[in-house]
Symmetry: C2
Subunit: 157 residues, 2 copies
DNA sequence: TAAAGACCCTGTAGTGGTTACAGGGTCAAG
DNA sequence: CTTGACCCTGTAACCACTACAGGGTCTTTA
């Protein structure tokens, strides 16, 4: 099959497939005479595996490691377990941070009574006041909250 | 004061300050004869405000909006409240996704009994098997988990 | 007076994980 | 023989920075 079908079967964008090849997650394939990439079922499985792991918020680096284990079936799998444990740790810490953050935002919102001049807006005043104090949140390396665009393939199938 | 002092006072990197100027969050300042940026206390306040909002995981776009409200003290502040509500929504959704994700990872980890050949590794098998089914997680636009580097200024002060 | 070192400037490229687009080539159907 | 669907490479954009190259300025010390 060609790249388009692979992409469709694994709910991915064609450009993403090529990106994964460049990034060393998918192997460089054989090509047709006209230089088209040729894939088989094992590529569908591998790409689906990658997408599933991405859905679990693993980094490409983590996935690369998992794939190395999967590619060496006679290796010890303790590393797989360790990787997963570490990743669960990432997620747990992230959840904790976001929860405290949400509480801060809620408190902040309470200070806004209703439509009034921004001069008296409790939210802005609070934000400004807290900014003067030693850092409350921050420092904890945190990122995200804001989405990436939906995969245009994901829903429509 | 010059950019270095501003950065120190607001727990920021010098390059970040210049970046915020380019991004329109900090105004272009007056310069000394030798072309050095000159700042005052109001810049410290503004920059600290920005950093505090970033600590609450707001995007620069959201912060820009907040600053516009703060810069127009006679405007109605309902927009501030709406922005905050929306942002709390982002955070809430993100937490939910991460929690379901964590549960999936935990279940996955249970399937790994102990050190054995990866050929029999329950984790890898599970991941591969699930990848064949219609997407479980994914699709929900989610991002993050993996950290950004700590602010080198943040702790040491 | 000169040199060291701390600071400042601009401009550009890198990070991660894609997405998008320009500018071309290939192939099957009408 | 043209249309349109598909493929190719290469490069730039997104976000919020960070880092570095290659220079200029200012202060302190020998």
């Amino acid at each position: 099959m060609k790249i388009g079908e692979l992409a469709r079967r694994a709910q991915t964008q064609v450009e993403t497939v090529r990106y994964y090849e460049r990034a060393g997650l998918l192997p460089e394939t054989t090509r047709t005479e006209s230089n088209y990439r040729v894939y088989g079922d094992k590529h569908v499985r591998r790409l689906s595996f990658i997408r599933h792991c991405r859905g679990l918020d693993m980094s490409l680096d983590e996935i690369r490691t998992l794939l190395r284990f999967a590619d060496a079936p006679d290796e010890n799998c303790a590393g797989v377990d360790a990787l997963l444990e570490a990743h669960i740790g990432h997620v747990t810490r992230r959840i904790k941070t976001l929860q405290s953050l949400k509480q801060q935002l809620r408190n902040l919102r309470k200070t806004c009574t209703s439509a009034q001049k921004t001069r008296q807006c409790g939210i802005l005043n609070e934000l400004a006041a807290r900014a003067r104090q030693p850092s409350t949140a921050s420092a904890e390396h945190v990122r995200g909250t804001h989405g990436i665009r939906d995969n245009p393939n994901a829903a429509s199938g």
